[in-house]
């Protein structure tokens, strides 16, 4: 898998087209679970006017591909896709899409959530917000570290 199913882009994505393309790729697929993240207008109590997403080109794609590869070892997955946007984003812009297609639903839910939890801690993205108090870098959350570690205890 050479970065298959991973895209890092400034452009928006079409969630319906992505789900449908993946779903129709195999008649063995019974379940497609998707996660769409959108920019909220509020963070840590402050209004967010816009944000800029910086990343580490080269490492980002590799990190995301590794997350998918790990998930494929653990669950029986027909297909998976991560699309992550970078650059300038406004509230209610789509920021990330994760899709997982499987024969049975529980695997799709677990794998999709596991991908998101690892993406939050292992993929080199950094958010800088423009709020009413000026520009600020978003601080990482310990809750994201905790969420990621959930998946270790049960392996």
């Amino acid at each position: 898998m050479v970065h298959m199913g991973v895209r890092v882009q400034t452009e928006d994505f079409d969630v319906g087209a992505e789900i449908t393309a993946m779903r129709l790729s195999s008649a063995n697929i019974g379940a497609v679970v998707s996660f769409v993240g959108q920019v909220r207008d509020l963070n840590d109590g402050d209004n967010v006017d816009s944000m800029f997403l910086e990343h580490y080109p080269g490492m980002t794609e590799k990190a995301l591909a590794e997350i998918i590869a790990q998930v494929k070892v653990r669950w029986s997955i027909t297909d998976a896709l991560i699309v992550h946007r970078v650059g300038e984003l406004k509230p209610q812009d789509q920021i990330v899409l994760v899709l997982v297609a499987t024969a049975h639903r529980q695997e799709a839910f677990e794998a999709c959530e596991c991908i998101m939890d690892h993406l939050k801690t292992d993929a080199p993205f950094w958010k800088k917000e423009q709020t009413q108090h000026g520009l600020r870098w978003v601080e990482a959350k310990t809750s994201d570290e905790d969420a990621r570690h959930r998946w270790k205890s049960t392996t």
């Binding site: 997403l53 910086e54 490492m59 993406l119 993205f125 950094w126 870098w137």
Partner: protein, 87 residues
């Protein structure tokens, strides 16, 4: 023998240092990420503030996340950045 590496800084680090990449010739006693951090912290106040151990800084070698005790080899691409906040 010269150990030359490429170093990248991202996000808050890049802004504080005011540049994003440089080539560094590793001193003979600098073999790990932890030792490179100490080496960088000796460059002055801004550097000491970032790499002196007070702040949480993550590192990657050749596009893979690594721990403080990871070994740096000649020609490696090393990166330093704050904890990530994507998704």
């Amino acid at each position: 023998m010269i150990h030359l590496i490429k170093v990248f800084y991202f996000a808050r680090l890049k802004e504080s240092l005011n540049y994003s990449t440089e080539d560094i010739e590793l001193p003979v006693n600098v073999k790990t990420i932890a030792q490179l951090k100490v080496h960088l912290a000796e460059r002055g106040e801004t550097w000491a503030d970032l790499f002196g151990g007070q702040q949480s800084i993550r590192a990657a070698i050749n596009h893979g996340l690594v721990d403080n005790d990871a070994i740096i080899n000649s020609g490696d691409e090393v990166a330093f950045f704050p904890p990530v906040t994507g998704g």
